[in-house]
Point group: C2
Chain length 331, copies 2
DNA sequence: CTGAAAGCGCTTACAG
DNA sequence: CTGAAAGCGCTTACAG
């Protein structure tokens, strides 16, 4: 800036005003200054601005390491969308993988200790204890894709409940009356919430819930286990996620059944497994873009106004109709 | 810092020295200052440091948008590993998705214009024209997972050539003599380089290259097409990537063949398709961690010494042995 | 061992 | 419409 000012025989204050389109500079001079800046290859030093107004213009996105295996990319895609939406606000996204050690030892992330970010989005469930640590961070913060009832931290989650409710309704509209649910209810809150949506649909349609139609899919460590089919099979299965739906299809096909002729199957997530399953799955698409957009909007509001609260926001999913469901003829 | 200094009746210079473990402060005072800092919840302001030494302590990672579809996560995982390695240097990684518009209009990324980063890693092939734009950026830079022979910009790539060479050797050691290659040679440089590794292996073993055993897998837009099998089939296929190997397995199974009894098949990448194929694929694992580590090391060297060059670095892959290859009994 | 002064690049409040 | 002064939080070079 000083160089530009010198070349043009003006002060750096004037250059600053011109480049920021502020009042107090003649249009003529503004244009001259802008041209000179571009000719000289001037690049703005954001650190200087940061120090002035105490804002880093960065948002930290923290993902627990255990969710970032080579075959898990959901959260990375969410992060990507967040990084893209931040552009609209002149912000950047810094990815912060939370290691298991840091999570156990309750260490603050380095982005926080070094004042590198103006807000933090916690993307993916962290331990109860670490939630406390997060609460102690003196910074706008947000839980994304999970929530904690005790922490009064705002959260944004997929509407698991309503999505499962809708897709179960769809099966019922197609004539299914015996419908199973596949998932370990004590594994994660989203599996549980999806189950409850399924359950509500049964209730509303006056269908009895039959415990024998609840199939477990994983043990307490989250490892997939073999399915134990009931003696009397349902005509349709609501799976808690696409990968499990994929596994179920494989298993049933092995046993000589055809999908969807013998059984209708629906999933949740609309991830890569939805299109790898044969036939392709009817499922609920999680709206990653909308989740990212909502999260960015919310954290920005919090930066502008530290008292801003948005509570627990549900982002609706959307049924994607494919070929894994077949109407049942009443008899 | 000033607050800490005031509380302890010392100067902020002394506080700065103590917190940075610099010489010129008595051990006693150092400890007192550190304790006070931690008690007061002092957080270092990295922007102030940045402005002092002209370093942002951020690295930009730029990925062209077209490589970030919902079912493509390879580059996001590479970015994740980069972000993790940067920790060792006290750096952070800022993700920059390069939109098609910016690529066409040859716009500099905002991270560059705003001096947000000390170096840029371009992750994934950009257009020839944009490579020129990258060259004009006055900053350490690095191509990751592609290279350009005309640009004198350093690059780090997977050793496609050697990986394909090794896995073809493996097939030959297993008795195969008629081996096909699956891939469109004019699509990407990695498909081409992998083909050349396959070709070298044939040459070395005195096997004739038979053009009829070259199977096309995609059109000029990169869309997968149906396989056109030759009249006389080979006994094994080297596929340019796991997804295509997956497609090939599906197709051959549909036609009534068994893998690996009728045909041996190998892939490349060791991505999700390698374990979804039935049987699971013998393939080349791309060493994402090593690529990230090398890239981070290299960009850091360039920041320390702007004249540092590392040329074109090849990161070796590794054969992962699974169940898609069967020895052939000579007859 | 300790600290006063200067400066990094910018912006804001104020004076002219 | 234009600019001199002060200040953001830190570090470095120098003086004591």
């Amino acid at each position: 800036m000083k160089d530009i000012a010198n070349k043009l025989g003006v002060s750096s204050v004037t250059v600053s005003k011109a480049l920021n389109d502020k009042e107090g500079v003649s249009d003529n001079l503004k244009i001259k200054i802008k041209k000179m800046a571009s000719d000289m290859g001037y690049r703005f030093n954001s650190a200087a601005k940061s120090i002035k107004d105490g804002l880093s213009y960065n948002i930290g996105v923290m993902i627990p390491h255990r969710f970032t295996g080579i075959n898990e990319s959901f959260y990375l895609h969410v992060y990507q969308e967040i990084a893209m939406y931040l552009e609209h606000y002149g912000y950047f996204g810094i990815l912060n993988i939370l290691s298991s050690e840091d999570e156990e030892q309750l260490n603050f992330p380095r982005v926080y200790n070094e004042n590198k970010v103006d807000g933090i989005i916690i993307l993916g469930q962290v331990s109860k204890k670490y939630i406390k640590t997060v609460q102690n961070m003196d910074l706008p913060k947000l839980f994304l894709d999970f929530y904690d009832e005790h922490a009064e931290i705002d959260s944004i989650i997929t509407d698991n409940f309503y999505g499962a409710y809708e897709i179960t309704n769809y099966l019922i509209r197609n004539g299914h009356r015996e419908i199973g649910y596949v998932g370990n209810l004590h594994s994660t809150s989203s599996i549980q919430d999806r189950f409850l949506g399924y359950y509500k649909s049964l209730l509303e349609h006056g269908l009895a819930y039959d415990e024998r139609l609840l199939l477990n899919d994983r043990d307490e460590h989250g490892t997939y286990i073999d399915f134990q089919f009931p003696e009397k099979m349902p005509t349709a299965f609501v799976c808690n996620c696409d990968q499990v739906a994929y596994n179920l299809c494989e298993k049933l096909t092995q046993l000589g059944y055809s999908i969807p002729q013998d059984f209708s199957i629906v999933g949740f997530d609309n991830d890569i497994y939805a299109t790898l399953t044969n036939p392709q799955l009817t499922t609920i698409e999680v709206d990653i873009q909308e989740m990212a957009r909502t999260a960015v909007k919310s954290i920005m509001d919090k930066i502008t106004n530290p008292h801003h609260r948005n509570g627990r926001v549900l982002v609706p999913g959307k049924i994607i109709y494919r070929d894994s469901v077949q109407p049942i003829s009443e008899s």
